[in-house]
């Protein structure tokens, strides 16, 4: 029974000691310890969160890069296609131009030929005329020999020629 009877002196001392212990540890031990643990936990959580965020950002960035690469590829393709088109067009244009030029040249050659032909015809006509005149002259000369009159006339013509 003695063991089960709380002793007043022990109650006094242990409650006093425990109270002081509680107050002192609360102020100088538990407060800084719990605060430090809490702030460390928070900083760890923050670090984890930011790492996750960075990972996500990196992923996004990677996706963006993929997009950019894809776009660049498409652009390259389109540029190549455009270049090919331009090339084709240039070739076509050059061909057309050449055709046109050739046609023009052919045409001008034809014109030249025509002109020459015309000139030649004119020349021929003129030659034919002069020839005809000559022939006619000759014929006429033969006829004029027969009379004096004719002789005189021819003389006058000769005179005329002399003047020239």
């Amino acid at each position: 029974m003695e063991l089960l009877t709380p002793d007043l002196g022990i109650i006094f001392w242990s409650s006093l000691t425990f109270l002081i212990l509680l107050i002192i540890l609360r102020r100088y031990a538990w407060k800084p310890i719990l605060q430090a643990i809490k702030s460390r936990e928070e900083s760890i959580q923050e670090a984890l969160d930011s790492a996750k965020q960075a990972k996500e950002q990196f992923k996004k960035l990677q996706e963006g890069n993929q997009e950019i690469i894809k776009e660049a590829k498409a652009e390259k393709d389109s540029i190549l296609k455009a270049a090919r088109d331009i090339k084709d067009q240039i070739i076509k244009e050059a061909k057309d131009q050449a055709d046109v030029e050739a046609a023009r040249m052919r045409k001008s050659a034809a014109n030249d030929i025509e002109n020459m032909k015309k000139e030649a015809i004119v020349d021929i006509k003129r030659e034919v005329a002069s020839l005809s005149v000559d022939i006619a002259e000759k014929i006429l000369k033969k006829d004029l020999e027969k009379s004096e009159e004719q002789k005189r006339m021819i003389d006058s013509f000769v005179d005329d020629i002399k003047i020239n």
Partner: protein, 370 residues
């Protein structure tokens, strides 16, 4: 390696400081023994149950060892207040072996057995030589002596303060870094109290009660461990003393009821969901419940620690009961096993006390949520 070194430094410092404080009061009483001498061989027959009670009970002196009837003890200060003769303070060496001092002596039998009593002579107040134990003349003064238990409470508090204040300072300096050394050892325990005891039982308001829960957890644990170390200055049985567990239970009682919510009192006096006449029956039961919960805490801790000590001591007393050395190996092996078990019990009981305290506090601060 660092932490081990620091641990030994701390241990050496604790023992050193304790001895420094205690040595002036130390008194190796090598001359004593006449008390036992008078009893003769007839009394050599061991009274096991008395010795058991002696070992786990409180004492005014710290008995270290006896050799051939000579005792080596550390004497502790006795502080008394008697309404009859006023305030007294002297060393317990003055009362050793049944000596009387200023009318005070340690009662060897009767109601106050083992405690200091004052013999008051009806006409002569200075009862220096009184030897008669007339019950009506025996008076128990207010006894504020630094007994073995009180000394152990002081010692454990000193160790706790030393360890946890330096721990707190170390956290102030570099708490953001990963814990190592002393912090590495104690942080999981502090986290355990917070995450496994406080938060699940108390909820959002846990932070207010953390200082108490941590203090009570480490106080009980350290005292349990001190009780298992057989060498001075350790070995005092504080948590196996009903007065100490009484004080701890009172703390839980006060904290629980002071921080109780309106809801808690409503559940005691006007239990919702029962017919109104039942309140008359329920209120007293619930009111008693306020006190039975901490009462159970007090008894549980006391009984567990006392039982462990009695078991270990009984195993060693078997040698004396059977009066043969051949029992010794059995006693040692069983005692070692029990000591290891007690090491576990020391932590478990600290955990249980803290857990139940947190549970009661949690029930008290809980707000209505139906």
């Amino acid at each position: 390696m660092m932490s081990g070194k620091r641990f030994w430094n701390i241990l050496v410092l604790i023992i050193g400081v304790t001895l420094f404080i205690v040595i002036p009061f130390m008194f190796f009483d090598m001359s004593g023994g006449h008390h036992e001498g008078e009893e003769g061989h007839a009394e050599k027959e061991l009274n096991v149950s008395e010795m058991l009670i002696d070992h786990i009970g409180d004492a005014y002196e710290w008995h270290l060892f006896s050799y051939h009837g000579k005792h080596a003890s550390v004497h502790l200060p006795v502080i008394l207040y008697s309404t009859n003769s006023g305030f007294h303070m002297f060393m317990s060496s003055k009362l050793a072996h049944g000596h009387h001092h200023k009318g005070f002596y340690i009662a060897s039998e009767g109601e106050y057995k083992g405690k200091i009593v004052e013999h008051i002579d009806s006409d002569n107040h200075d009862a220096e030589h009184a030897t008669d134990d007339h019950a009506e003349n025996i008076y128990r003064p207010l006894d504020f002596s630094i007994t073995k238990t009180v000394f152990t409470v002081f010692l454990s508090s000193f160790i706790l303060m030393f360890i946890f204040i330096s721990l707190g300072n170390s956290y102030k300096r570099n708490g953001e870094k990963a814990p190592r050394g002393l912090r590495g050892f104690f942080e999981p325990l502090i986290m355990f109290v917070r995450d496994e005891i406080a938060i699940p039982n108390i909820g959002d308001k846990y932070m207010r009660f953390m200082p108490y829960l941590l203090t009570v957890f480490f106080f009980i644990w350290f005292n349990n461990l001190i009780g298992l170390i057989p060498l001075f200055p350790f070995g005092g049985n504080a948590t196996g003393n009903i007065a100490v567990t009484f004080v701890l239970a009172i703390f839980t009682l006060v904290i629980t009821n002071v921080s109780a919510s309106k809801n808690y009192w409503r559940h005691i006096f006007f239990m919702p969901g029962v017919p109104k006449p039942m309140w008359i029956l329920l209120a007293p039961v619930e009111l008693i419940g306020i006190f039975t919960k901490p009462f159970a805490l007090m008894i549980r801790l006391f009984a567990n620690i006392t039982a462990g000590h009695i078991l270990i001591l009984s195993l060693f007393f078997m040698i004396f009961i059977f009066k043969t050395f051949y029992v010794a190996p059995v006693s040692i092996i069983m005692g070692l096993f029990m000591s290891l078990l007690e090491l576990l019990v020391a932590a478990i009981q600290a955990y249980v006390f803290t857990l139940l305290s947190a549970l009661f506090i949690g029930m008290a601060v809980e707000e209505e949520h139906h």
